[in-house]
C-alpha cells in the first residue's frame, strides 16, 4: 500500500513541474548519450588496434633463443669444483624446436588451447636487380594460420589460399612489393642465409596496417620455407598457441617453459604498450561520461531543491497527517530516480542512434584495407554501465534534497502561516 502511494505522490509532484523535470532529464540524457557514443567509439578503436596486433599474434609463442647451454659439460664432470670457462659459444641446432611434433600433439590435447600453428621463420634477401633487400619469410600452415589469426583479412590483393595450392609461392608485404616493383604473378628471387637462391611466384600482397612490418615480412607455406632454408619437413622454429582465455597466457607461458624446455613468451609481455593505450582510451571515455553525468546531477539537485522549497506546505501537511521523515525522503528519492531512469533510458536510445551514425562516417586508411567506416563497439555492457551510472548519479543528486525535505519541521511551516 505504502509503495504505490509514494510513487503516486512522487509522480504528481513531478508532473506539476514537468518543464523543469524535462530539463533535468535532458541533462541526464545528454550525459548518457555522450557516454555511450564515446565508449562505443573508443572501444571500437581499441578493438581495431588490438586487432592489428593481438588478433594476429599468438597468445603464447614457443621458440628457441640462440644462447649457450646453461649447463656446460664440465659442470657435470666436476660438480663441486671451481672452474672458469671463457667465451662460451652457442652450439648445436640453433633455432629449431626439438621434438616439435610431440609438443604440438600435446598442446592440441590441452583443453585451454584453442589452436596451434607451427611456423618457420627465414631471414632472406629479396634480390631486386643488383640490390638486395633484407626480409623475413614466415613459413606458415596456411589454413591453421587463417583460422586462428585471420590471415585472410590482411591479404589485400590475391587469394590467400593460393599460398597452399601453388608450390613455391609467396605473399609479399605490400610495402616490400612496392619497393621491388613486383606484381601478382611475377617471379621474384630470394637468397637464403646459406646462400641458396630460390625463385618464388608472387600470389598476393599482405597489408598488416603497420608499414614497418610490411616492408620486411612475407608469407610462404611451411614446405616452401623449409626448402629455402634447406631443411627437412620437420624443421620448425616457432609454435604459436592461441588460447580460449587470453588472460591465462602469462601463467601458461611459464608452465610451457618448464614442460617443453623451450622459450615461451606470452602476448601480454610482448605487447604491453597496446594494453596501456586501450586503458587510456577507456579511462577518457569514462571520465567524459561521468563528468557530464555529474553536471546533470547538479541539474537534478537544483530542481529538487526548488521543488522542495515550493512544496514546503505539502511536505508539512504530509508529515502532520502521518507521513514519516523516511516516507518524505522516499518520495523525493523516487522523483530523482525516475528522472535518472527516464533520462538514462532515453540516453541509451540516443547513444545507440549516435553510434549508428558514427558507424556510417567513412574512414579510409591505406593501412587498414578492411576498414571502411569508423569502428564502433556495441557491447551491451556499456549500456548496462550507462543506465547504472545514471541511476547512481541521480540517486546521489537527490539524496541531499530528499534528506532536507525529510527534516522539515512541520511546526515551523505551520507557525509561519
Amino acid at each position: 500500500m505504502i509503495k504505490p502511494l509514494i510513487i503516486d505522490i512522487a509522480k504528481s509532484l513531478l508532473l506539476a513541474r514537468w518543464r523543469q523535470t524535462l530539463v533535468a532529464a535532458v541533462g541526464v540524457t545528454f550525459g548518457i548519450t555522450m557516454f555511450i557514443t564515446l565508449l562505443g567509439f573508443m572501444n571500437g578503436l581499441n578493438d581495431l588496434l588490438d586487432g592489428l596486433i593481438l588478433n594476429r599474434t599468438a597468445h603464447i609463442r614457443l621458440f628457441n633463443e640462440i644462447k649457450p647451454s646453461t649447463i656446460q659439460p664440465i659442470d657435470l664432470a666436476l660438480r663441486n669444483d671451481i672452474h672458469f670457462i671463457n667465451s662460451i659459444k652457442p652450439n648445436g641446432h640453433g633455432q629449431e624446436i626439438d621434438n616439435n611434433l610431440a609438443i604440438i600433439a600435446s598442446l592440441k590435447k590441452d583443453s585451454r588451447v584453442m589452436g596451434v600453428t607451427p611456423k618457420v621463420t627465414a631471414q632472406v634477401f629479396y634480390n631486386v636487380g643488383k640490390v638486395d633487400i633484407t626480409g623475413v619469410i614466415n613459413g606458415i600452415d596456411v589454413e591453421a594460420e587463417n583460422k586462428l589469426f585471420h590471415f585472410q583479412e590482411y591479404v589485400s590483393h590475391g587469394n590467400y589460399i593460393d599460398l597452399k595450392n601453388i608450390p613455391n609461392s609467396i605473399i609479399l608485404g605490400k610495402a616490400a612489393a612496392d619497393k621491388m616493383l613486383a606484381n601478382i604473378g611475377d617471379m621474384i628471387q630470394v637468397t637464403s642465409p646459406n646462400g641458396e637462391r630460390q625463385t618464388l611466384k608472387v600470389v598476393g600482397f599482405f597489408q598488416s596496417g603497420l608499414q614497418e612490418l610490411d616492408k620486411v615480412q612475407s608469407y610462404a607455406s611451411l614446405a616452401t620455407t623449409q626448402k629455402i632454408l634447406g631443411k627437412s619437413n620437420s624443421f620448425i622454429t616457432d609454435i604459436g598457441v592461441k588460447l580460449f582465455d587470453i588472460s591465462k597466457a602469462p601463467a601458461m607461458a611459464k608452465e610451457f617453459l618448464k614442460i617443453y624446455e623451450t622459450d615461451a613468451e606470452d602476448i601480454q609481455t610482448a605487447n604491453a604498450q597496446f594494453e596501456t593505450g586501450s586503458n587510456v582510451r577507456s579511462i577518457i571515455s569514462y571520465a567524459v561520461g561521468v563528468t557530464l553525468l555529474i553536471v546533470a546531477g547538479f541539474g537534478i539537485y537544483n530542481i529538487l531543491n526548488m521543488m522542495i522549497y515550493e512544496k514546503m506546505d505539502s511536505i508539512a501537511i504530509l508529515k502532520a497527517t502521518g507521513f514519516s521523515g523516511q516516507d518524505v525522503k522516499r518520495i523525493f528519492i523516487t522523483i530523482a530516480l525516475s528522472i535518472g531512469l527516464f533520462g538514462g533510458l532515453l540516453g541509451l536510445v540516443f547513444g545507440f542512434l549516435t553510434s549508428l551514425a558514427v558507424d556510417q562516417i567513412p574512414f579510409n586508411t591505406a593501412a587498414l584495407p578492411t576498414i571502411k567506416t569508423f569502428p564502433v563497439n556495441y557491447n551491451p555492457k556499456f549500456y548496462i554501465i550507462g543506465i547504472t551510472f545514471s541511476l547512481i548519479t541521480t540517486y546521489f543528486a537527490g539524496w541531499l534534497p530528499a534528506r532536507k525535505a525529510s527534516q522539515i519541521d512541520p511546526v515551523d511551516i505551520i507557525r509561519g502561516k
Binding site: 505504502i2 502511494l5 497527517t321 507521513f323 521523515g325 505551520i414
Partner: protein, 225 residues
C-alpha cells in the same frame, strides 16, 4: 466517568532564541472522550505552542504527554507519525490541501497511508466524510477551484478520514468570514453530538468558545481554568 483520551502532565517549554524565555509553565490537564473543548487566551500566551506539543509534532518539551493512555514523550519520529496518522486529526487556520490531487484524493491520502482499508473502501469512506460536510459534489475538483470555506471543510473531512480519537484545530475559523465560521462551528457541534467526536479547538473567537462544552483559558503560559 468516561475514558481519558489525552493527558498533559507538567508540560513546560521554553524558547532559547536568543535568550531563554519560558513559554509554557507546568501545564497539566486532561480531556475525556467525547469532550468538545476550546482553548482561549491572549495572543502570544502559548496556545499554538501547546497545541503543537499535544499533537506530537513538537517533541522539544519537558513533562509527559499521554494519548489514549499511552506515553508519547520520548517516542521515535516514525512512531509519532503513525500516532498522528491513526489517532489525531488536524485542522489549521490554513487548509494545506495539495493542489496536485483532487479533493477526494486529498481526503483519502492519510487513509491510504494508514492502509487499514482497501482503496475502494477508502474512497467510499472519503465520500461519506465529504457528505457529512456537505461538499461531496466537489469531490472531483482540484482544491484551488474551491472557495475558502469549502477548502476548510475539505480539510475537516481529511481530519476525519481515519476516525481519529481527537481532532485538534488551531484557529480553524481564523481565515473565514462570519457565515463560514458558523458553518464550521455547526459542523464541529454536529461531530461532537452525533458522532461523539472529541475536539480540542484553539480559538480567538469568544462567542465560538462560549458554545463549546468546556473552555480552557490560558494566560502567560499557564492554564487559568
Amino acid at each position: 466517568m468516561s475514558k481519558i483520551i489525552l493527558e498533559a502532565k507538567d508540560i513546560e517549554k521554553s524558547f532559547h532564541d536568543p535568550i531563554t524565555i519560558p513559554i509554557l509553565k507546568k501545564i497539566s490537564f486532561s480531556i475525556n472522550k467525547g469532550d468538545f473543548v476550546s482553548v482561549i487566551g491572549k495572543s502570544g500566551c502559548g496556545k499554538s505552542t501547546l497545541l503543537y506539543i499535544l499533537s506530537t509534532m513538537d517533541t522539544d518539551y519537558e513533562g509527559q504527554l499521554y494519548i489514549d493512555q499511552e506515553l508519547m514523550t520520548g517516542k521515535k519520529e516514525k512512531e509519532l507519525a503513525r500516532v498522528r496518522n491513526e489517532k489525531i486529526g488536524f485542522v489549521f487556520q490554513f487548509h494545506y490541501l495539495l493542489n496536485e490531487f483532487s479533493v477526494l484524493k486529498n481526503v483519502m491520502l492519510p487513509a491510504i497511508k494508514l492502509a487499514k482499508y482497501s482503496i475502494q473502501e477508502i474512497e467510499h469512506r472519503a465520500y461519506e466524510k465529504l457528505k457529512i460536510l456537505d461538499i461531496e459534489k466537489e469531490a472531483l475538483k482540484k482544491p484551488n477551484q474551491l472557495s475558502g470555506g469549502q477548502k476548510q471543510r475539505v480539510a475537516i473531512a481529511r481530519a476525519l478520514i481515519n476516525d481519529p480519537f481527537i481532532i485538534m484545530g488551531d484557529e480553524p475559523t481564523g481565515n473565514l468570514d462570519k457565515k463560514n465560521s458558523d458553518i464550521v462551528f455547526d459542523i464541529f457541534t454536529n461531530l461532537a453530538e452525533t458522532f461523539k467526536q472529541t475536539l480540542l479547538i484553539v480559538t480567538h473567537d469568544n462567542e465560538f468558545a462560549s458554545k463549546t462544552q468546556r473552555i480552557i483559558e490560558m494566560s502567560d503560559g499557564r492554564i487559568l481554568s
